[in-house]
């Protein structure tokens, strides 16, 4: 089994774990990946991946404005807003 870089995964997923959680997650993930690795022994030569259970085509929407935006309502549950903007700690570019 490949070595699991928990720190890298946490960085990608924006999760912060304390040391105890980190160790617990490592153990869990190792067991889960070991279970999942049963797949590797199964033959899938010449098999097309299945992304959707139904073999359907994307339906297209007519190009019309149908949404009435109610900013106050949508922002009721927002953690921090000012002048209609969502606020986050300063982003440096």
């Amino acid at each position: 089994m490949a070595n699991i870089d928990i720190n890298h995964l946490c960085r990608l997923a924006q999760l912060a774990l304390n040391d105890a959680e980190h160790e617990a997650v490592r153990g869990d993930l190792e067991r889960i990946i070991a279970m999942v690795d049963q797949m590797q022994a199964m033959n899938t030569d010449h098999v097309e991946p299945l992304a959707h259970p139904l073999d359907a085509n994307q339906r297209l929407r007519r190009d019309e404005v149908t949404e009435v935006v109610d900013r106050e309502r949508y922002q009721l549950g927002a953690p921090a807003t000012q002048d209609g903007l969502y606020l986050v700690p300063r982003v440096v570019e």
């Binding site: 949404e67 900013r71 903007l85 969502y86 700690p89 570019e93």
Partner: protein, 485 residues
């Protein structure tokens, strides 16, 4: 050492649909913050994307216009990264199966040379929102109005070799999407944003150097300046024995420099995978054929038609076809008059100058094409001198009525009639014996004096050609009869 730059561009073309790519909200520019972001754009729990048919049609139009492959099967993927202007934590884009495959765009350089730029692919995706860094101390404000605006990302092969070529390509792409009416081409509002991949290698080398990507350049001038700066920066590094780092950079137009964007470093693994909320897009041959038949005439074809059928010079034809609205206006004028050269002169001269003076776009030109056509007809039938025509044009511009109404109302009809004009000229000859004597003594320049007098007497309405003819005729005969005495 001689160095060679290798440049590829990724241009985000904002498609001018009425609604967003995956939602029914309006993508119009300039609304108050977050007043154009519906729950789908905000990525609230439970919302789902539904693809806009018009965005698909526009992408296919573009592909057909550059002779590219249109993929009958394309897939939307999620590109995963965290950024506050990206409310779902992923951007819906196309990765493995873009809608438009390889094609080419021929680019005419100013020196007359033509380069062929390979288009690797063009794919549909959604735009992100905007971050505002200034107004709030220690905080960044997020406006998601732009979120979900449809983009067609057009990616070139690394075929460009100089900043000039890059700009010429960008301009050509700009003209093309405006021709197709799939983008308003408004660079100031971000309707076309360019990412440039720049690397440098020893001239003649096969292998590519390490590249940097300059993000979000939004004017023709800045594309040239940013790439120029970046090439020099990389050459400096290489010549001082250093190595170019692969890197994402931002162009700062105030300082005219590019600098590294630290924030992007985290997101080097986008974990692309097919968006399970969207199904594959299958395009039928019938649909593609239908889009093809709806394509407008493209700039190159139009230019060729202008030079062959209308016998315009290459310069005039290029000028007129650079902007579809100019070319449309030109052809609309030609529906009334058949003098292509004279029409071209008026459009490239007075009309263009007046628009520039009043800061207007062609679409807002206050002189209807039919009236410019009537004006040219009146020049051709000698009703108007070119000087009078300018007066009529300004009156048309001011909205004083049709060309013929203005000619009538202001009495601007040119005098060409030899009877009436002859009487005036004879009187002037009689009143100025001294100048007649000078003329007779061989001083031909004095003819100008007579022309001026005639023009003054007719308030400028005399047909200058006719005046010349009649003056020569009458002065000559005058002299002859005197001589016979």
């Amino acid at each position: 050492m001689q160095w060679e730059a290798v440049i590829g561009l990724e241009v985000h073309v904002q498609l001018s649909t009425k609604s967003k790519i995956f939602s029914g909200a309006s993508p119009a520019f300039g609304g108050a913050p977050n007043t154009q972001a519906c729950p789908v754009d905000l990525g609230l729990p439970g919302v789902l994307p539904v693809l806009n048919a018009e965005a698909v049609r526009m992408a296919v139009m573009f592909g057909l216009a550059i002779g590219a492959e249109i993929h009958p099967y394309s897939v939307f993927d999620r590109k995963n990264y965290f950024y506050p202007d990206l409310p779902k934590g992923y951007q819906i884009s196309q990765f493995a199966h873009p809608i438009v495959g390889p094609g080419t765009i021929d680019v005419q350089m100013e020196n007359g040379e033509t380069i062929t730029v390979g288009i690797t692919r063009a794919h549909l995706e959604e735009d992100a929102g905007k971050s505002l860094h200034t107004s709030y101390p220690g905080m960044t404000g997020i406006d998601l109005n732009r979120t979900g605006t449809p983009l067609l990302e057009v990616v070139t092969d690394p075929d460009l070799r100089s900043p000039e070529q890059a700009v010429a390509y960008f301009k050509q792409l700009h003209a093309l999407v405006r021709y197709l009416k799939i983008c308003d081409g408004n660079l100031a509002e971000g309707s076309m944003r360019c990412d440039a991949n720049v690397s440098v290698r020893p001239l003649g080398a096969e292998e590519l150097g390490e590249r940097s990507e300059i993000k979000n350049i939004n004017s023709f001038r800045f594309v040239e300046k940013a790439i120029t700066f970046e090439i020099e920066r990389q050459i400096d590094i290489l010549e001082s024995g250093g190595k170019v780092q692969r890197d994402t950079r931002l162009y700062d137009s105030d300082l005219n420099e590019t600098r590294s964007m630290r924030t992007k470093e985290l997101s080097d693994d986008y974990r692309y995978f097919p968006d399970p909320d969207l199904l594959p897009v299958h395009l039928t041959p019938e649909f593609i054929a239908e889009v093809k038949s709806s394509l407008p005439e493209l700039p190159e074809a139009r230019k060729t038609r202008f030079t062959t059928e209308l016998k315009l010079s290459d310069y005039d034809a290029t000028w007129l076809t650079g902007d579809p609205e100019v070319a449309d206006y030109f052809e609309a004028v030609l529906a009334t008059t058949d003098d292509a050269k004279l029409t071209a002169n008026w459009i490239m001269g007075d009309a263009s100058a007046a628009l520039h003076r009043d800061d207007l776009e062609w679409i807002d030109c206050p002189v209807p094409a039919t009236e410019l056509g009537r004006l040219i007809v009146r020049i051709k039938d000698n009703t108007l001198s070119s000087k009078l025509a300018k007066t009529v044009f300004e009156a048309l511009w001011a909205g004083e009525g049709t060309a013929d109404e203005i000619i009538e109302a202001r009495g601007l009809r040119q005098l060409s009639d030899s009877g009436a004009l002859g009487d005036i000229i004879e009187k002037i000859i009689l009143d100025n014996p001294h100048q007649v004597a000078q003329y007779r003594a061989g001083k031909n320049k004095v003819l100008g004096f007579f022309v001026g007098r005639v023009m003054k007497a007719t308030q400028g309405k005399a047909n200058p050609g006719r005046v010349n003819e009649l003056l020569l005729e009458l002065l000559g005969s005058w002299g002859q009869s005197k001589g016979a005495e």
